[in-house]
Amino acid sequence: MDPSAVASLLLVGLARAMILFIVAAGLTFVLGVLRVPNIAHGSLYMIGAFTAFTIAEVLGKNPAGFWIALVVAPLVVAAVGLIIERGLLSHLYQREHLMLILFTFGIMLILNDMVKFVWGADYRSVTPPEILDGSFTLGDFAIPRYSIFLLILGPLVALGLWLLSNKTRLGKISRAAAVDREMVGVLGINVSWVFAAAFVIGCLLAGLGGALVAPTTSISLGMDHTIIIECFLIVTIGGLGNTWGALIGALLFGVSQSLGLLFLPQYAIVFPYAIVVIVLLLRPRGLLRSVW
């Protein structure tokens, strides 16, 4: 087997894992604090991607277009999330757990139709800025610049999330809220706003993931279905609510898929699912400890 082919597949897998991690980290963050697996998370990711497309389109040849999209798209998604949370979800926290989960499914149905309404069913694409386009060559081995960019950004996001939950007041409160809501309430902290903040951070990450994926793939309706199921699996093998678990899960998922291409190209997509199931049969609660 050609070692440089293996290396470049590995690189593709790692780059893909970074995007998966960013999206899954948002999902697991919300799950950890609110205990709600946000089914609409994939739709928010899709909105992020389409928003990035529109911004890049509007700014046309402006080289800063991609960078602006990378900042603005997550903010747009976060705003959508804030409206959903404050307007609707926040009134349901006293309800049965299953109701909250089904509520996010209802939101997913509506958001998907909204995307269809605004952007239509066509395939769209975004070109990365010049600095990230093309690839370096190292001997006879080509490294896509965009992959390098993702490989730098992924760990930065992980670091940022770690700082957020360990070094800030909000992070500490939300970690406490994940474990014991009553206690946080007793301390005189407005739990409702902690939940809102957590939900918005989750949406921000979904939007960021969407904006980041835009230059690597064609953007279309239905992209939410694949990402949400993949993120659910990643979050599950990582341990519900555990950010580091999401990172490990995303790496397992992304790398096993690209290595699968090496052995059984037609079934490459099956590989990560099989890995997930094997992991879960051995450790049904996931690799790392769930936060609650």
Binding site: P37, F105, H225, L233, Y273, V277, P284
Partner: protein, 325 residues
């Protein structure tokens, strides 16, 4: 339900409904007959889910897998092995039940959300295999024009077949719910910890319930093949699982007939609304959210609450206990 197994007025109503459905094909246009057949299939599927969801309190997040496995088993046995229908049809539910046993055996070690997430993971593996294994399952194209016995090829034939099977299955499910097993299952839903303390092996009962639900889900899958004569990976896709979930909620998951009503509403909505708009799922989404806000016990649950206030007080207490856990 306390003194008599079935209250006479409900029995009468059921028989009247059944008689009406038997005579319907004589008067109704073919399109409606077809839609009602689809409702039967969907209702059976939703009821099989509610057996574990509403009566068992189990977070069965990926019930569609059993539906799809049942449908694909029958379809593959007919198309790949050319087996006759009288072997392929019963094989569907049996393989579905076996799948339920396998998935369930791993899942029942966990509870609630962990259970649901693990089930999604295990079910998704089956989905992705079906989705990719072009040589056998036809991949994302599915299998179409499945040859069926002569009497099932007409819309009327399929209608009567599905009606009879679905009625038998519903009767069986009623028996199960009213059996000691059913009573125990409901007790487990209300309070699993207490059940352990009175000598009930909770996981064992949950596993049996999952196998039974998977079996009836498989029957629904075979009925789908009867009506549509095709299968595709969407049958075991996770979004369908959520849709059935919504049907149970819509009709009322603490009532026996609720899921039938929920399935009828969703199928009818899809048929009617999609004629006028491309955005019928928005209608479903808005309905779902309105329901969660205003009728969390579903339509049937709401009706029961209006006419039997005592039951609602109990449900309220039940919700409080659920929330406390």
């Amino acid at each position: 339900m306390f003194n008599k197994f079935v209250e006479p007025r409900w029995l009468l109503l059921t028989l009247a409904l059944l008689a009406a459905l038997l005579f319907l094909p004589l008067v109704a246009p073919l399109f409606y007959i077809y839609i009602i057949s689809v409702i039967f299939v969907t209702a059976l599927l939703a009821m099989s889910l509610n057996l574990v969801l509403g009566y068992g309190g189990i977070y069965q997040f990926h019930h569609a897998v059993f539906y799809g496995v049942g449908a694909y088993t029958a379809a593959l046995l007919i198309t790949q092995l050319s087996l006759p229908a009288w072997i392929s049809f019963p094989a569907g539910p049996l393989v579905a039940a076996l799948t339920g046993l396998l998935i369930g055996a791993f899942c029942v070690r966990l509870t609630k959300l962990y259970f649901g997430m693990l089930q999604i993971a295990l079910g998704s593996l089956i989905w992705i295999i079906v989705y990719r294994w072009y040589d056998v399952t036809g991949g994302d194209n599915g299998i179409h024009d499945i040859p069926l016995p002569e009497f099932l090829t007409s819309i009327h034939g399929a209608y009567y077949f599905v009606l009879i099977i679905a009625a038998v299955c519903v009767a069986l499910m009623y028996l199960i719910i009213k059996s000691p097993f059913g009573a125990t299952l409901q007790a487990i839903r209300d309070n699993p910890q207490r059940c352990e303390a009175i000598g009930i092996n909770v996981q064992h009962h949950q596993l049996i319930a999952i196998v039974i639900a998977a079996f009836f889900g498989g029957v629904a899958g075979v009925m789908f093949v009867t009506v549509e004569r095709s299968v595709f990976p969407g049958l075991l896709f996770w979004v369908l699982s959520l849709e059935i979930f919504v049907m149970c909620l819509l009709g009322g998951w603490f009532t026996f007939a609720g899921p039938i009503l929920g399935a009828a509403i969703v199928v009818a909505l899809r048929t009617v609304a999609s004629r006028y708009t491309d955005y019928w799922t928005t209608v479903l989404g808005i309905m779902l959210i309105l329901l969660i806000f205003f009728l969390p016990e579903g339509v049937m649950g709401w009706a029961r609450e209006r006419f039997k206030p005592r039951a609602s007080a109990a449900d309220k207490r039940g919700r409080e206990l659920d929330a406390a856990r």
